[in-house]
């Protein structure tokens, strides 16, 4: 605790880096997963290929990906781009499955009703299918965000920024205070951001709380 209070500037700077590395991939992953899921939902072969690729991507350990990506991308080992690409892949892999499952649960009658009301396909997807997928998407997002925040700290083992630096630094200089400060800060960050996502989900789905 003492360490945290005496190193507030450090904490702020590292938190900014940490959140950038953890959350930018979430936005990028969303931008990839949602259109991809919509595109392949009704194409069995493409869908199989997508889900198979997604599960393989998700299986590769993050630290391994941080090391392999520079070779593939031609970046340097400590480049932030490696972390962003790695976490974007995980995010997209997890969310594409969540969105596909959600789209599958939209009742056929609802689709037909929208079609009967004269909704063109794209409008129907935007205004009917995707909003109904929000609860699933939120559940996926919560897992992804908490995992990403933890994964960025693992990156500190190979020297990639963020609050994980307090873990490796504290370990190497025998300062348990510094490690505890890092754990507290990361735990709080994860809980707060998780709460914000739940809140955003509630705001985005007012119909789930409608009076019957």
């Amino acid at each position: 605790m003492h360490y945290l209070l005496t190193h507030l500037d450090d904490a702020r700077a590292l938190t900014v880096v940490h959140l950038r590395l953890a959350l930018l991939p979430v936005l990028l992953g969303l931008a990839i997963a949602v259109p991809l899921a919509v595109a392949v939902q009704r194409a069995p072969l493409a869908r199989r290929l997508t889900t198979a690729t997604a599960s393989v991507v998700f299986t590769i350990p993050s630290l391994a990906l941080f090391v392999v990506l520079p070779v593939i991308l031609g970046t340097r080992l400590l480049d932030e781009a490696n972390v962003i690409v790695a976490l974007t892949s995980y995010t997209a892999a997890l969310l594409v499955r969540a969105v596909l499952e959600a789209l599958d649960t939209v009742p056929a009658t609802v689709r037909d009703a929208a079609a009967a009301l004269g909704y063109p396909k794209l409008t129907r997807i935007m205004k009917v299918d995707l909003p109904l997928a929000i609860p699933n998407l939120i559940a996926g997002l919560r897992v992804v965000v908490v995992t990403n925040i933890a994964m960025v700290s693992v990156g500190s083992v190979i020297g990639i920024g963020g609050l994980g630096a307090w873990f490796t630094e504290g370990y190497n200089t025998d300062k348990s205070d510094q490690i505890v400060a890092g754990i507290l800060l990361l735990f709080t960050l994860a809980v707060v951001i998780d709460g914000l996502i739940v809140l955003a989900g509630r705001v985005a789905t007012p119909w789930t709380r409608a009076v019957r």
Partner: protein, 233 residues
């Protein structure tokens, strides 16, 4: 691309696989950490998940514990443990076990709580005791979910066991950490490829286990498969 060629050459050399610090030994260490951590996690999470799923009491406890444990940075817990309790396997294994608990707990709880209430009521009506209901109805029906939880936990533990090397332990992480420290990047790549391959294989095995455990299919050989044509509905 030179690193890649060197890494592949390293992996294809028999000499690098043998000996006390060879790839085979490191792989065995990695599997050992993973197995012990998962065993400990299962010992805590599965009974707790079964009880809470069966009684439906303490659901909030599950959700709270799962979320809190997921938010805990394992990396920090691991290094703190080593710092406070000294080098050695115990602190690392405790941290890895903590990492495995949330997935196993969530899978077990959700699996048992999600069993068709009609099946549970039918079992009670037949005069089964609560223990029998749990053992003969709820566990078999929840098995795919429980194994699914184990699958997620395994992925996380295998990936994170790499960090054990940072705390001066063995495992495949040694190649990664030493390779980077000594600027032998092809060694780091060897470690990365080996961990990724191990994760893919274990995931494949557990995916098969989930498939085999699907209730009512007789895939586990618990009872003879019924002939489709003579099944009365």
């Amino acid at each position: 691309m030179n690193f890649v060629r060197q890494a592949i050459a390293y992996l294809l050399t028999v000499r690098n696989w043998t000996g006390p610090v060879g790839l085979a030994a490191r792989l065995a260490e990695h599997l050992e950490y993973t197995a012990i951590a998962l065993g400990a996690a299962a010992l805590i999470a599965v009974p707790l998940g079964l009880i809470i799923g069966h009684t439906r009491r303490g659901t909030l406890l599950v959700v709270g514990t799962v979320n809190a444990l997921r938010s805990l940075p394992t990396m920090g817990v691991l290094l703190l443990g080593v710092l406070l309790f000294g080098l050695g396997a115990a602190p690392t294994l405790v941290a890895l076990a903590l990492l495995g608990v949330p997935s196993l707990l969530a899978g077990t709880y959700a699996g048992v709580a999600g069993v068709d209430p009609a099946a549970v009521d039918a079992a009670r009506a037949l005069g089964m005791t609560e223990t029998q209901v749990l053992r003969r109805v709820e566990v078999p029906n929840a098995l795919p979910a429980i194994l699914g939880g184990l699958r997620n936990a395994t992925l996380q533990v295998v990936a994170t066991a790499t960090v054990a090397a940072y705390a001066s332990l063995g495992g495949l992480g040694r190649y990664l950490i030493d390779g980077i420290k000594e600027r032998q990047f092809h060694l780091a790549l060897v470690g990365a490829l080996a961990v990724a391959a191990l994760a893919l294989v274990l995931d494949g095995v557990l995916a098969a286990a989930v498939w085999a455990s699907a209730p009512g299919t007789g895939r586990l050989g618990g009872y003879p498969r019924r002939d489709r044509h003579h099944t009365c509905q």
